[in-house]
Subunit: 226 residues, 2 copies
């Protein structure tokens, strides 16, 4: 866990927030881990203040729990919360898919979405798990932008962080990810042919699948849940 403060990537507080968020999602900081302001201040080579602000931001996203005068810990995974989060994301993105059909997506957006699917396929052939997830994320983000609903992606942000954490447990190999590419293609096809019902249905199916492995991982790694 090598922390580092870059010279020009926003304020120190925001950089720390990003790194801690990534570390939490990737389970580098597993649920239940105690987070000390002073400890991270030393590791990052800054004072406690920016660390504190980063932790407050993560607490707002409910990724960490701050108990005054008691301590700050990474929150455990809640199965109920995950199912709620998945449902909400499905609702929002189903609307995005419909809207994308109603407003004609531009050709540049079309090309971008195509390119992102291609990049996922390529990343998978290289066993580049991280690259796959980045492209996946951008696919959904660009679809929202193309539909004129950038706010939708921002709204999903915090929710998606929680979902990504369990996906990090379930999506560990290439064959588990393979189906997602086909689902993305189906979504894009429906959007381009402006078939709103098909687009919504494809999106809902896509976002229903992502938690299919939740029960097994919950049984295997019960220590991460609470």
């Amino acid at each position: 866990m090598n922390f580092h403060i870059a010279p020009d990537t926003g304020s120190a507080a925001r950089q720390i927030e990003r790194q801690l968020r990534a570390s939490i999602i990737s389970m580098e900081l597993p649920p239940g881990t105690r987070l000390s302001e002073t400890e991270f201040a030393e590791k990052f080579g800054v004072s406690r203040q920016p660390v504190r602000e980063a932790l407050i931001a993560l607490a707002r996203a409910e990724l960490v729990s701050i108990l005054p005068q008691r301590g700050t810990t990474v929150v455990k995974i809640s199965a109920d919360r995950m199912m709620q989060a998945r449902f909400i994301r499905e609702q929002i993105e189903a609307g995005v898919a419909r809207r994308a059909c109603e407003v004609q997506v531009s050709t540049t957006d079309h090309q971008m979405l195509d390119e992102l699917i291609r990049r996922q396929d390529e990343a998978l052939s290289r066993d580049d798990i991280e690259g796959f997830k980045i492209a996946d994320e951008r696919f959904h983000q660009n679809l929202a932008r193309a539909a004129g609903l950038e706010l939708a992606w921002q709204t999903i942000g915090d929710i998606k962080a929680h979902l990504d954490r369990v996906c990090h447990l379930t999506l560990t190999n290439a064959q588990a990810m393979r189906p997602l590419i086909g689902q993305h293609q189906k979504i894009l096809e429906a959007v381009l042919s402006r078939d709103a019902d098909a687009a919504e249905q494809a999106m809902r199916f896509h976002l229903t699948e992502i938690l299919r492995a939740l029960p097994v991982v919950m049984a295997e790694r019960a220590d991460l849940f609470g």
Copy 2:
């Protein structure tokens, strides 16, 4: 604008955040207003630090804009953003309405929702605008809770703050609010009879109406938009 720090309502930062948020929504702090950390620190009788944390929280909700070394201002109303926000809220709450039909709502929840509608009617007869809005908010919140989707309400939180700001401009008299009660009743009826399609449709109609007056207020108060 009388600010005050209560002894036991959370940390100073959170109290200040709540008060500032309320002042922004109620237009007491209109769009474009410059917010000075030091100024509020004096008014609240605290140091800059908690004020700063409050402003950061509001910036995260995009109610204020923080430009480092330049200043912090209340963000202007964006018509496009409002329409996106309304759409997203409709998507989420439509799902809540459906889910409320699928899971049987408990009798205590039923009574609570009934009571809240009654309280809205009562508040309206007293011309208690604020009381009406509180009951309205609780109706939606309790419906989400009854559906087992409390996270849905939290997710809507920041979005709703923006919508509430324009509603403060449009919903100024009792007769403008009167129809909302009937809409709530229709939603509740459909939920209790477990008619998911009717519940979703009623909710969508309800949340489509709230921005109907946007064009006229945008023309009348162009200075608030940007």
